[in-house]
């Protein structure tokens, strides 16, 4: 299995006034293309920080991150932007949709940034994906007219529309009820199987972890272990 992410001795410290808060302490881990992984740990264990480092949304204090063969710590700002645009799909915990754009336009946005043309081609891809995530009827509505589950689907569609190799999802179900949460996980699993897209999502919910192939457990900013749900004592979901 080809490696897609390789993290070595990753350290991240936040500075809060004079206090230095260590969020990640020499974290090392690897995972391959097509994996469906969960990052688990209690609140404050460093899950978000880890995802941000891998997703090139933030820069580490020390160590290296390699995404699809690129040493992100060595890349200039613009290359990082392009890496985010072309290789990574990011799904935010609180969806982060652009409120002034419609569902369709939100999903089309990365394609426009990628300069995918012509408009008909973009339209086809966007509608196809909206269909897939089940919100095609809402294409012309604004995010604030949708429910939380629908919004998260839009966010997933936006993350997937460019066909990224790696999708990072920070607690994708935390703002959803359990029914909606399970539907989102099912959707992600489905896309993982169908397209071979690598998924890494964080959670502190055992029911969510149950969906993963493997669980990377974090505690106090360090990797505890990498286990299967069974090894973690969780009954695999369906």
């Amino acid at each position: 299995m080809a490696s897609i992410v390789s993290v070595r001795d990753l350290t991240k410290e936040y500075r809060l006034g004079n206090v230095i808060v260590p969020a990640l302490k020499r974290v090392s881990l690897d995972f391959g293309v097509g994996e469906f992984l969960a990052v688990a740990g209690p609140s404050g264990s460093g899950k978000t920080t880890l995802l941000n480092m891998i997703g090139c949304v933030d820069t580490p204090t020390g160590g290296t991150v390699e995404v699809d063969g690129e040493q992100t710590t060595l890349l200039p700002e613009r290359a990082l932007t392009d890496l985010r645009l072309h290789k990574i799909g990011f799904i935010f915990q609180s969806f982060n949709l652009i409120t002034v754009l419609t569902v369709f336009q939100n999903v089309e946005l990365p394609l426009l940034l990628q300069r995918v043309g012509p408009a008909a081609e973009r339209r086809r891809r966007v509608l196809d994906l909206l269909e897939r995530v089940g919100i095609a009827p809402y294409a012309d509505q604004r995010p604030n007219e949708l429910s939380g589950g629908q919004r998260q689907r839009v966010a997933i569609a936006r993350a997937l529309v460019t066909g990224p190799k790696l999708v990072l999802a920070d607690e994708p179900t935390a703002n959803l009820d359990s029914v909606n949460g399970q539907m989102i996980l099912d959707l992600m699993k489905h896309l993982n199987r169908e397209k071979g897209t690598t998924f890494l999502f964080s959670t502190h919910d055992a029911r969510v972890m149950a969906n993963a192939e493997a669980i990377i457990r974090l505690a106090d900013g360090a990797v505890v272990d990498r286990v299967s749900p069974a090894e973690a004592g969780i009954a695999p979901a369906r």
Binding site: T48, N52, G55, C56, V57, D58, E77, R78, T81, D82, R84, L85, H86, F90, F92, N96, L97, I98, T99, V100, L101, Q105, L109, P110, L112, L113, Q114, R115, G117, A119, R122, R158, A159
Partner: protein, 697 residues
């Protein structure tokens, strides 16, 4: 940038602006107001500038003025602070004119000279004496009863004038330092004011009249001197080139004749009976300015002065005239018992209700019996100037009429310069003229063996073609008498084209075919002058108009300062608003960055937003400003004072929209928007993807 991305940016801008409607409206109204004011202000300024330039160019200056480079002073066509400019004559003017006319854009070259002098008329005392002499002559040895009555009435009028004159002289002497000089005059007048003088008048009426004409009338003339500014010019060329000139009274000076034309405004203002002039001005102020006697202190003052100064009219009326006016006023004011002075006071005691009626009565009952102007059209005018070499000089010219410039009727500035023929102007300035040269020659001969009358000398020179020549004039080669009415004599009334060509010219107006190419033509004239050694200094009408020309500059400055202030305020407010808008959207912008938008995209997003505000609201403001300009242009802004007439070049300013004003407004709005969006856009571009995780608060 990809056109689709651009469309997305524009769409996002519209959406964002709509989402923040209130803020957009506030920012937009500032942009709107800025564009509106800039278009309106620029259009008005341009229109006033335009009106003023037309006033200056069309009345006296022409587009370009040339004068001798060797001159001491700068040319100021409307007179500067220090009086009239001292200019050297343009050498070989006819040649200069011919050379300038070879330039393609030059339509006409009008010779000029500007000066000012005191003018006296055949004054009221003269007129009264003339009438008295006429009566005496007609009466002969055996006067009829009617003629005796007429002589009595006219004598009484002259006597009253002499008494008033004595008072005037005494009060003038008390504030003057030249006591010794005036003493003789005062003594002469005093003698004629004595009852004894009038008791003996009939012993030898002709001798008595002579005394009055020679010793008393000049003193009155002296007391009645008025300052006139005039342009000496080739009158025909002037009329052809300044085609807004129109004759209001009398006629134009016939070709080849000497003559004087009053500027109508000046004529009304300086030469009209003051009471009548004040009535006219009150009427004008009420009708055009919308002022009232009740509330306007100036009108109230004028009305009061009229009541207090009825002697100005009484002075002019002999007994018969006085009786006629008295009867008419008794009838029309329905005050049968009242005396003339009381009636006049009553007539002139005006208010807003009775004004129209009293105005009509004045012109119906009083005006026909008096001379409304101190100098009548057709009278001779004696102009006394000091020549360039410092000698007093006087010339008598006939007043042919009065003129005004169409559209500038009410302007004191455009109506301040009278016109005089160039030959007379030359004499007044002391330049040697054909006539004075002839006179010298004549005098030389007269001083020699044979006496040659001046008439013969002139007839020789003029080829005998002129018949009205009465006598020569005082050239400054002869030391004339002191400045006094007695020394002036009638100048020859005609001249030849050759005289005109020989006359000295101080400056010349150059009229262009295409005024837009003025600066180019100025350079061409300069080049020509340099190449052919014409010795010309070339100035634009703006420069020639002196302070007036700078007024436009000043207005421009004021407008630019105002625009600058609007600009700065808009800049600060807009910049602030855009910064706020950026800070409120940190999360959105961070998200955009996280999903792969480059910094440039974010920067462009803010700039496009500002541009959309600028284009929509700025465009609306410019359109509204343009509409208001057109609306004002349609109605017109009425000129409420004489200065405004000059600025507006007519009774109403009709501003019109210029593309340049709109373009300038558009550029300003774009600059303001670009500058005010620049900093927030830069801020926005520095927002990191991590800030997508920022909370909404």
């Amino acid at each position: 940038m990809n056109p689709d991305t651009f469309v997305l940016l524009v769409r996002m801008a519209f959406r964002n602006l709509f989402a923040a409607r209130l803020k957009t409206l506030i920012v937009g109204s500032i942009v709107f107001a800025g564009a509106f004011l800039v278009v309106l202000g620029l259009s008005l300024l341009e229109s006033v500038n335009d009106g003023m330039s037309r006033s200056i160019v069309d009345s006296l200056a022409g587009h370009i003025q040339v004068h001798a480079a060797a001159s001491k002073d700068k040319l100021e066509i409307f007179g500067g602070m220090g009086g009239f400019p001292d200019l050297a004559p343009i050498p070989r003017f006819p040649l200069v004119r011919d050379r300038l006319l070879t330039l393609p854009n030059v339509k006409a070259v009008v010779p000029m000279g500007i000066n000012g002098a005191v003018a006296t008329s055949g004054n009221v005392v003269d007129n009264a004496l003339e009438k008295l002499r006429d009566s005496v002559r007609r009466a002969g040895k055996r006067p009829t009863k009617a003629l005796r009555a007429e002589i009595g009435a006219r004598k009484a009028l002259v006597r009253r004038m002499v008494e008033l004159l004595e008072q005037d002289l005494l009060s003038a002497a008390s504030i003057s330092s030249e006591k010794a000089e005036n003493a003789v005059t005062i003594a002469n007048v005093h003698r004629a004011a004595q009852p004894a003088y009038w008791a003996r008048f009939d012993d030898d009426p002709l001798a008595s009249l002579e005394y009055l004409e020679n010793k008393v009338a000049p003193a009155a003339a002296e007391a009645d001197m008025l300052f006139v500014s005039y342009i000496g010019t080739d009158l025909d060329a002037f009329r052809k080139s300044f085609d807004r000139l129109e004759i209001t009274d009398g006629t134009f000076v016939p070709p080849g004749k000497r003559g004087f034309l009053f500027a109508k405004f000046n004529y009304e203002e300086m030469f009209k009976v003051k009471i009548a002039r004040r009535l006219d001005r009150i009427k004008e102020a009420k009708e055009i300015g919308g002022r009232t006697i009740a509330r306007d202190p100036e009108l109230k003052r004028w009305a009061g002065e009229n009541v207090a100064q009825t002697h100005e009219i009484l002075y002019q009326l002999d007994q018969l005239g006085a009786e006629a006016v008295e009867r008419a006023l008794q009838r029309d004011l329905k005050l049968p018992g009242l005396k003339l002075d009381a009636l006049l006071a009553k007539l002139l005691d005006i208010n807003d209700t009775n004004f129209a009626e009293r105005y009509r009565l004045f012109y119906a009952d009083v005006a026909p019996s008096i001379d409304l102007y101190k100098v009548r059209i057709g009278d001779d005018l004696t102009i006394k100037a000091v020549t360039r070499s410092g000698y007093p000089q006087s010339v008598v010219v006939k007043v042919y009429g009065a003129f005004q410039f169409r559209g500038l009727e009410k302007s004191a500035l455009a109506g301040s310069m009278c016109l005089i023929d160039l030959v007379s102007f030359n004499e007044l300035s002391g330049f040697p003229t054909t006539e004075s040269t002839a006179e010298i020659a004549g005098m030389r001969k007269a001083a020699g063996a044979k006496a040659v009358s001046r008439e013969t000398a002139e007839a020789d020179l003029f080829g005998g073609g002129t018949t009205t020549v009465q006598t020569g004039h005082t050239g400054d080669v002869r030391i004339p008498d002191r400045l006094s009415g007695a020394s002036s004599r009638r100048a020859g009334s005609a001249f030849t084209p050759a005289d005109l060509d020989r006359a000295s010219v101080l400056n010349a107006a150059v009229i262009l075919k295409d005024p837009r190419r003025m600066s180019r033509t100025m350079r061409e004239i300069e080049a020509l002058s340099k190449k052919e050694g014409l010795g010309l200094k070339v100035i634009s009408w703006q420069t020639a108009a002196g302070l007036l020309g700078q007024l436009v500059l000043l207005m421009r400055l004021v407008l630019f300062v105002a625009v600058g202030i609007i600009f700065l305020v808009a800049l600060v407010v807009l910049s602030n608003a855009f910064v706020m808008a950026t800070l409120e959207r940190v999360r959105d912008i961070g998200t955009l960055r996280a999903v792969g938008a480059r910094r440039g995209f974010i920067f462009a997003m803010i700039v496009v937003e500002a541009a959309v505000v600028g284009i929509i609201f700025g465009g609306a403001g410019a359109v509204a400003g343009g509409a208001v300009v057109e609306l004002i242009g349609w109605i017109g802004i009425p000129a409420k004072s004489d200065v405004m007439f000059f600025f507006f070049s007519g009774p109403r300013l009709k501003p019109f929209l210029r593309i340049s004003s709109v373009v300038i407004a558009a550029i300003l709005v774009l600059i303001v928007n670009a500058l005010s969006a620049g900093y927030p856009a830069w801020l926005a571009a520095r927002i990191t993807p991590r800030q997508a995780m920022a909370t909404d608060e």
